[in-house]
């Protein structure tokens, strides 16, 4: 789900090489190169920009941008890859500590640096596959890059990376599951935090912003690398998800909390809905709602087309429930970015496959009105 992006990815920054060894990245590069060979590509450019949009370079390099800047990996079919990122040269050592790629180039002009890398590798007249370019590239940078590659053949190839990223390895799934535990624990702190309070008085969450502060603290304490949080009041007539404001909670209010958080590059998302009861927030959830949601999620099995799953999920929701979730969609893939392929939409031509990590969302009708709920599932 789209959220406000922070000014800095400020959480725990660790590369646990046991959980995600260099061999994992070598394997990703190998599989990409195999596809490049089949497509006749001599190299690929994997570009990303911003805290939500750097998935392609992160997937291959493990490098993440901290500020909302851009990064690019040049992956030749033969030879060493190179990582470029927008930033000062003093960031090189920190970047090298987070990636297996040896050729790391901080820069303030991505296009010219990329041209220099391609020239170094004799690829100026090559057939080059593009992932994230020019879709995400600022106009001036793309103009420079395209002009510099006038002798090259540029081929749209984002589907190569999207397709590979969509099916997670066992290690990736373990990271998403770790992120899911983190999200669950942070959201589970809401009823406890509201009811109990803390002696120093810092954990009072009688307002939306106080609730957000509590949940984010819990997520950070669990080691969250990055966090996204939105709030909705589905009891209101024109409700929509939005950043937490200063509004206070009143008895009987219904509040939905969307939390996305990443653990060592990998994201998970969940939405939980609560009812304000005097001095506490109770989950607006019961066995019946759980069973309905599980039935919808359980339809996402290998071999089922996304369109087919959407039809089944839609049939399991009332017209009002479907109207309520429609602006946000029923879900999407999740991994090194909070939102990635496949999009769970009626016009999708994708098929659900084993190894996908999906966010599944629904609005269900409970005792206290509309209940927004989402979970990250592994197919």
């Amino acid at each position: 789900m789209q959220t406000l992006q922070p000014t800095l990815r400020l959480g725990r920054d660790v590369w646990d090489r046991t959980a995600m060894p260099v061999e994992e990245f070598h394997d990703r590069a190998r599989r990409l190169r195999e596809t490049m060979g089949r497509r006749g590509l001599d190299a690929m450019l994997l570009y990303g920009a911003g805290l939500n949009g750097c998935g392609h370079p992160t997937y291959l390099s493990n490098y993440i941008v901290k500020l909302p800047f851009s990064a690019l990996v040049v992956l030749p079919r033969e030879g060493e890859p190179a990582l470029m990122f927008e930033g000062a040269t003093r960031g090189r050592a920190a970047a090298k500590a987070t990636t297996w790629i040896e050729d790391v180039r901080p820069c303030w002009n991505m296009a010219e640096t990329c041209l220099a890398v391609l020239a170094d590798r004799g690829l100026m007249a090559a057939t080059i596959g593009l992932a994230g370019l020019p879709r995400l590239v600022p106009y001036a940078e793309w103009s420079t890059l395209a002009a510099g590659l006038a002798r090259a053949t540029l081929v749209e190839a984002e589907d190569v990376v999207d397709g590979q990223r969509a099916i997670k390895s066992a290690r990736e799934i373990a990271q998403v599951q770790r992120a899911s535990r983190l999200v669950d624990q942070a959201l589970a702190s809401i009823p406890e935090g509201y009811r109990v309070g803390r002696p120093e008085g810092l954990h009072y969450i009688g307002t939306e912003s106080g609730l957000a502060a509590l949940v984010m603290r819990e997520a950070r304490m669990q080691g969250a690398e990055d966090i996204r949080l939105l709030i909705a009041r589905p009891g209101e007539s024109d409700w929509a998800f939005r950043p937490a404001g200063d509004a206070a909670f009143a008895d009987g209010d219904t509040v939905s909390v969307h939390l996305g958080a990443s653990w060592e590059r990998y994201w998970s998302e969940a939405i939980r809905t609560y009812v304000v009861r005097a001095d506490r927030l109770d989950r607006a959830w019961n066995g019946e709602l759980e069973a309905r949601f599980r039935r919808i999620a359980a339809g996402a099995t290998p071999g089922v087309s996304v369109a087919e799953w959407i039809r089944a999920a839609g049939a399991a929701l009332s017209a009002a429930e479907l109207r309520s979730i429609d602006p946000y969609g029923l879900g999407h893939g999740i991994g090194v970015t909070p939102e990635e392929s496949p999009v769970l939409a009626a016009d999708s031509t994708a098929t659900i496959e084993s190894g996908m990590c999906l966010v599944v969302r629904a609005v269900l009708t409970g005792d206290c009105g509309l209940v927004v709920h989402s979970d990250t599932i592994v197919v």
Binding site: Q2, T3, L4, Q5, P6, T7, L8, R9, L10, G11, R12, D13, V14, A49, G50, L51, N52, G53, K66, L67, P68, F69, A88, T89, R90, A94, P134, R135, L136, V137, P138, Y139, A140, E141, W142, S143, L202, S209, G210, A212, A213, L214, M216, R217, R220, M221, G223, D238, A240, F241, R242, P243, P327, Y328
Partner: protein, 372 residues
């Protein structure tokens, strides 16, 4: 499209002066301490989605396009702009808005450095875009009362953040737990976003993102604590010694404090911003550290924050000849690597006034010591 606002009036005046038929103020939805959002400044709302823009005609009509579509209600409630529209197909919606507002010919583009090629190329079929970041920079040079109120709110949040930082910087606490406490305290104090860098260790070389490292006796814990309130920033740079500080640390920090205080005395409306750097560098050179007055031993002696500021998030050095303007917000920080102590954080944010620098935060800049 009947919005009236001083920013609209000023934008129209500047557009007419420049001979522009329209102005597009674009944002990719990011918030960057180094590249403030012109759209957030102009519309008063932080955009959420990947493509957003205000479209202004030279006759004073304005439309605000936002993504995702479902965020239009929030933006409409928060912005002074009446005509707010969710834009699923952004390039198409932008071209439609230009036609609807009868904008043709040459159009200024602010925030164009963020605009991806496909959007730019699509809009360029309708109008001729030319860079216009400077229009918004000119509009934003002097902070309004509302913006100053946010700056003071930031200052209170920074004080709360530092208090949490000082409390958390204790033996056994992990770096990321310190950041969790700082962020939490600042959010409770009114910050809606935070920029926090830190480091711990006996001899730090820079500030960075937090790791699993646990604070140990004898560590120096340094932090750059920067709360954000609705697009306004302030920053505190602080150092905490965990246990009794070594003489070298006391002496080194004293040198930075003297350089900081001397630099602060120079700050006032009209002086060149370079005086901040030259004063600090001069004192460090006099103390025998001239060779350390350059990267990687330091980054910058100060910078501004946000639209309209001097060197927003970038660097003020001895070459920064822009004058400091009244009501500018500037951080003065002789953050410095010294061979005997490692990297130290020292400094805070001030408001530039004709009478000098007005300190914004209440917590004192000094070397803090946490008993072990």
């Amino acid at each position: 499209m009947t919005s009236t606002h001083r920013k609209l009036d000023e934008a129209v005046r500047l557009m007419r002066e420049r001979g522009l038929n329209g102005l597009v103020i674009y944002s990719d939805g990011t918030c960057n301490i180094l590249r403030a959002s012109y759209l957030h400044y102009f519309s008063g709302v932080a955009p959420m989605g990947p493509h957003n823009a205000a479209v202004v005609s030279s006759s004073g009509r304005v439309t605000l396009l936002v993504q995702p579509v479902w965020d239009a209600g929030r933006v409409r409630r928060r912005s002074w702009i009446d005509d707010v529209r969710g834009a699923g197909d952004f390039a198409g919606a932008l071209s439609d808005a230009l036609r609807r507002l009868e904008i043709a010919g040459t159009v200024g583009l602010a925030g164009g450095g963020q605009m991806p090629y496909p959007v730019h190329a699509a809009v360029s079929k309708t109008v001729a875009l030319e860079p216009a970041d400077d229009l918004i920079e000119m509009m934003a040079r002097e902070k309004s009362e509302e913006e100053l109120a946010l700056v003071y709110r930031c200052a209170a949040a920074a004080d709360a953040g530092f208090e949490a930082f000082r409390r958390a910087a204790r033996v056994g606490v992990r770096e990321y737990e310190i950041v969790a406490e700082v962020e939490h305290a600042m959010r409770l104090a009114g910050a809606d976003d935070n920029f926090i860098l830190m480091a711990s260790g006996p001899h730090n070389t820079a500030m960075r993102a937090p790791t699993d490292r646990r604070v140990a006796p004898g560590d120096v814990v340094i932090g750059e604590i920067t709360p954000v309130c609705d697009g306004q920033f302030i920053q505190l740079c602080r150092t905490v010694s965990v246990g009794k500080p070594a003489t070298a640390l006391v002496d080194g920090y004293d040198l930075l404090m003297r350089a900081y205080e001397a630099s602060l005395l120079q700050v006032r409306t009209g002086v060149p911003a370079s005086i901040i750097a030259s004063t600090i560098d001069g004192m460090l050179a006099d103390a025998g550290f001239a060779e350390y007055c350059r990267p990687p031993y330091m980054r910058t002696r100060g910078h501004g924050f946000g639209v309209g500021s001097v060197a927003p998030g970038a660097l003020i050095d001895a070459e920064t000849d822009q004058p400091l303007l009244d009501r500018q917000v500037v951080v003065v920080h002789p953050n410095q690597y010294l061979p005997a102590t490692g990297y130290l954080a020292c400094g805070e944010t001030v408001l530039v006034t004709p009478g000098g620098a007005e300190r914004l935060a209440k917590t004192e800049t000094r070397l803090y010591v946490n008993e072990v």
